[in-house]
């Protein structure tokens, strides 16, 4: 269970990006996070892996409260796939990049290698293992970035605009891959039809506040979406 209670996030310049959010995501549940530009989606995701420190509120991952001391444990449980894969891929080859996490977490070479192989297989990108991230298409980079996170076998996956830059085919491929991954997911997206295909529940945020928490029926409710600025 990923549990967020009364979360408030302020930036240094005083902007309140998240303003009292509370919700939970159950194990294996796929939840869409929608809201207009600047609604606070990215800020929320960053706080769930401890990159942004909330001003107040509580974050529990599988009953473990997120704090400075157990950041490592939390980060092996929750994997964030960044909006821009270029930020996430920094090693010379995709294989090494996927191995970076397991190595940092102290797994030995054999375990690291087997985690790399299974992440590549799970995403159907075994052929990219030896390639450099600089020479991949956006779709391939996106899958590679997901691989870097899967290698730590987290129980929750967070995605920030996963369909950005993808062509229709890469998008379909991603849809079916996300559908098959067993982890609980929180997916920030502007792509409503993608949200409808992958998720069973929708959180609608506006100016840092939760305005709706309901089924995917919400995605067809144009007047509600419009009042939330979408």
């Amino acid at each position: 269970m990923l549990h967020v209670k009364d979360l408030i996030i302020d930036y240094a310049d005083g902007t309140r990006a998240v303003d009292g959010l509370s919700f939970s995501v159950a194990a294996g549940e796929n939840v869409a996070l929608i809201g207009a530009n600047g609604a606070g989606k990215t800020s929320l995701l960053l706080s769930l892996v401890g990159i942004l420190t909330p001003a107040s509120g509580e974050i529990l991952i599988n009953d473990l409260p997120l704090s400075k001391d157990n950041l490592r444990q939390i980060r092996s449980q929750v994997g964030l796939v960044f909006q821009n894969p270029d930020d996430q891929l920094f090693m010379p080859t995709i294989g090494e990049d996927i191995g970076f996490g397991p190595r940092s977490f102290g797994y030995d070479e054999a375990e690291t290698a087997s985690r790399v192989t299974s992440a590549l297989e799970e995403l159907g990108i075994v052929h990219l293992g030896e390639r450099s991230p600089l020479k991949l298409s956006s779709g391939e980079k996106r899958l590679a970035a997901i691989g870097t996170v899967l290698a730590l076998s987290p129980t929750f996956l967070l995605f920030d605009e996963p369909t950005a830059f993808l062509d229709p085919r890469a998008r379909r491929n991603l849809t079916s891959i996300l559908g098959e991954l067993p982890q609980g997911k929180l997916i920030a997206t502007h792509d409503l039809s993608f949200a409808e295909q992958v998720c069973t529940r929708v959180l609608l945020v506006q100016k840092g506040k939760l305005v709706e928490d309901s089924g995917t029926g919400l995605l067809a409710d144009e007047s509600t979406l419009e009042t939330a600025g979408l």
């Binding site: 990159i51 994997g79 010379p92 996490g101 450099s132």
Partner: protein
């Protein structure tokens, strides 16, 4: 400027070479690190007029590159980057150190010229040694060894970050230059009046980018204080290899160069 994109690729190319599987690649990283240090110390400690003796070392890098299957052209082009700095330092010797060294026919070669040549050879050998080290050892293994040798964390960290950061910085320059050219009638170079805001933006953007890359690294367990992977133990075979590679260097230094 126009081919910064290519530069980024080149920079990563050196790193990509480290994924090779030759004997040199498989040597223990600590063996390579120590040998590189020994080699550089021996080369640099030769006297300032030891040009003739030093030339014996010139074939060392070629032997290493051959065994490690490294592309000569790429490696040599990297060495040239350091050339201007050494020329700058060495030229003053030519000016001040006018004493005769020897004469060829009617031309007198001055001590200053010999010492300039010596500096260039020393530069070539040292830079080459470092390049070969980097091209045969994954970066993360090198920094792991540095940590193991108790090099202060802050130095290792700066080293790691600089290494990642150069690529990040070049990529930013590349995309900003592209955007600039597209809207400036395809000018090749930056106009002076745009330089200030361009550089300011560059610094801001690359900080921003570096921050995100760092966030991504720490999400996956990168930590400034811990050894990122269990380092391979140094075995008898590794020590033997170390002795084996150091021997010719040391012998040459004392027997031939003196």
């Amino acid at each position: 400027m126009p081919d910064i994109g290519a530069r980024v690729h080149e920079l990563r190319a050196l790193e990509n070479l480290a994924a090779g599987r030759t004997v040199i690649h498989r040597l223990h990283p600590l063996v390579k690190l120590i040998y590189t240090l020994v080699f550089i110390v021996f080369v640099v400690s030769c006297s300032r007029y030891s040009f003739a003796g030093l030339t014996i070392y010139l074939f060392f890098p070629f032997v290493m590159m051959a065994i490690a299957e490294l592309p000569y052209k790429l490696m040599l082009s990297r060495v040239l980057i350091a050339l201007p700095f050494c020329l700058f330092g060495g030229i003053s010797n030519v000016i001040f150190d006018r004493g005769p060294a020897f004469t060829i026919g009617s031309v007198t070669v001055s001590l200053g010229m010999v010492s300039l040549a010596t500096i260039l050879v020393k530069m070539y050998l040292s830079v080459m040694a470092v390049l070969i080290l980097v091209a045969t050892t994954p970066f993360i293994d090198l920094t792991t060894q540095l940590r193991r040798l108790r090099v202060p964390t802050i130095f290792v960290m700066v080293f790691e970050m600089t290494f990642r950061y150069i690529a990040v910085l070049l990529e930013e320059v590349h995309s900003m230059m592209t955007a600039y050219r597209l809207r400036s009638g395809n000018r090749k170079a930056l106009e002076m009046k745009h330089m200030g805001s361009f550089l300011g933006q560059l610094v801001l953007r690359s900080f921003d980018r570096a921050e995100r890359v760092h966030a991504a690294m720490s999400c996956r367990g990168y930590s400034l204080h811990e050894i990122p992977r269990a380092p391979r133990k140094l075995g008898g075979v590794d020590l033997f290899a170390l002795a084996l590679v150091c021997l010719p260097t040391v012998l040459l230094r004392f027997i031939v160069i003196g």
